[in-house]
């Protein structure tokens, strides 16, 4: 039996972070909303099991990551449902920094974007990112290092010298 109250608490406490993560990974705010909603819909359908999961938010992030790399199939179902509920309310245009960052992130491989988002938005240490991604810590350090080096090339005000060695530790 699924417990709606516990799901609602989970949803309220994590959805803000999930949308940030979706935006940083998918590179489009509307797509981020779509895929995060679908991830939560899937979470609710399996909430009886997922409620006992040791890290449901990490599970959610993995679903978001996979959906972000599989957009075509993902959008077909949810957009039909979203079409019935009307368009979302208008929001203000993003700030200049956000536009620059998202444009730069689009030039990075998905794995680099995921690692950077987990580091900068969730403050996760390298070990936890590695555990969540299922790769060695050295791989995560490489993703972070290369991702940041590329961002330093693409973003004004970010210099490679600023990125210290222990920035990835």
């Amino acid at each position: 039996m699924r417990d709606a109250d516990s799901f609602d608490d989970f949803y309220r406490s994590t959805s803000g972070r999930a949308v940030r993560y979706g935006y940083a990974v998918a590179g489009d705010p509307a797509e981020a909303q779509d895929l995060v909603q679908e991830a939560y819909a899937r979470a609710w359908r399996q909430w009886a099991k997922l409620a006992c999961h040791p890290a449901p938010e990490a599970w959610l992030r993995l679903v978001i990551s996979r959906l972000a790399t599989d957009r075509f199939r993902r959008l077909r179902g949810w957009r039909l449902a979203a079409g019935r509920t009307g368009p979302p309310p208008d929001v203000e245009p993003p700030g200049e920094d956000t536009v620059l960052l998202v444009a730069a992130l689009r030039q990075l491989p998905t794995r680099h974007r995921q690692a950077l988002a987990l580091h900068y938005l969730f403050d996760l240490p390298v070990e936890e990112i590695a555990r969540e991604a299922g790769v060695p810590t050295g791989t995560v350090k490489s993703w972070l290092s290369r991702g940041r080096a590329r961002l330093a090339e693409l973003l004004p005000g970010v210099t490679a010298e600023e990125l210290e060695v222990n920035d990835v530790a």
């Binding site: 309220r12 940083a24 819909a41 997922l50 179902g77 956000t98 403050d123 555990r131 969540e132």
Partner: protein, 308 residues
């Protein structure tokens, strides 16, 4: 750390926070509706497959060699091979995250285990408690600089032992308050990581600072005195310090109008981490103890889950 990259990501986070997802009950209804529809389509597809298989096999048998079988009387139900019974197959688009596994072809095991007994050096969002729906003022919270304790005659208990600190302002609503009312109060909620052994010393210094500062002048016109005193406290984390700040209520002219405005502050230690909940009221409201205690427990529980 790269300050500039942090600034870019903070900008992204701030812009994203303006985007509103549907309420959880609405999302649940949509998800259930889709699940029912997909299940119905799957059953229909399976039934169609069975019917087609049966019809096809009858055609093949009818065209085969041998004496013509005696046709069954009209109206006799056609037997169906039991092996072809329809079954509801799991949707290919639905991940199947059995507990302890993650969806998809790879199966990295996600766990929350942290390096044993290691004191963290960063404070993630999840270390901060979440208000239940009945107390959610709908304003979200704001992480930003500012004092995490009321003024205590200039004392700065534990400051020199701090490793890192994060603090937020969190408006809340008392249970039962109307949704369109202004918030019932605001919490200043901080989490501080101290060097090994420093958290206990910080709490001892906080106790001493409150004792040493029973009253002090507060800003205001006309001048007003704010009084502090320690209150007995137990049952929160490894140890806790609870104290109140008390100022006389004043009318619109600043004259005492009877009674005191009382705010509670509780600092709770969990290992080398201290979380402080400072209730600041909203337009001269005083702290409601039951609500404050309940939210203190939530704050401690969030710390415990983070550190476990």
């Amino acid at each position: 750390m790269s300050r500039e990259l942090h600034r870019y990501y903070r900008s992204l986070a701030a812009d994203t926070d303006e985007r509103v997802l549907p309420a959880p009950d609405r999302l649940r209804r949509s998800a259930d509706r889709w699940a029912r529809r997909r299940a119905a389509i799957t059953v229909l597809a399976a039934a169609g497959l069975v019917a087609g298989t049966v019809a096809g096999s009858q055609l093949v048998l009818a065209a085969g060699p041998g004496p013509d079988p005696v046709p069954p009387p009209a109206g006799t139900p056609t037997p169906q091979p039991s092996s072809a019974a329809p079954s509801v197959a799991p949707s290919p688009t639905t991940p199947s995250p059995s507990v302890g596994r993650t969806p998809g072809s790879r199966s990295p095991v996600v766990t929350t285990t942290s390096p044993a007994a290691a004191t963290p050096v960063t404070i993630p969002d999840r270390a901060f408690f979440v208000l239940p729906a009945a107390n959610d003022a709908g304003t979200g919270n704001y992480f930003g600089p500012g004092p995490v304790l009321p003024a205590l005659c200039g004392a700065t208990p534990g400051d020199e032992r701090v490793v890192t600190q994060r603090a937020r302002s969190l408006p809340y609503r008392r249970t039962g308050a109307a949704a369109d009312e202004v918030p019932s109060g605001t919490y200043r909620h901080s989490i501080t990581i101290y060097r090994a052994g420093g958290a206990g010393a910080a709490l001892a210094e906080l106790r001493a600072a409150v004792r040493a500062c029973p009253e002090q002048p507060a800003r205001g016109t006309p001048p007003v005195t704010v009084r502090q005193r320690l209150l007995p406290d137990s049952g929160y984390g490894d140890e806790s310090v609870l104290f109140e700040t008390r100022t006389p209520y004043r009318d619109a002219n600043g004259d005492p109008s009877g009674g005191d405005e009382v705010h509670l502050v509780r600092a709770v230690r969990s290992g080398d981490v201290v979380t402080v909940l400072w209730e600041q009221g909203w337009e001269s409201t005083s702290t409601q103890r039951a609500q404050f205690d309940a939210d203190s427990r939530r704050a401690v529980e969030a710390i415990r889950r983070w550190l476990d």
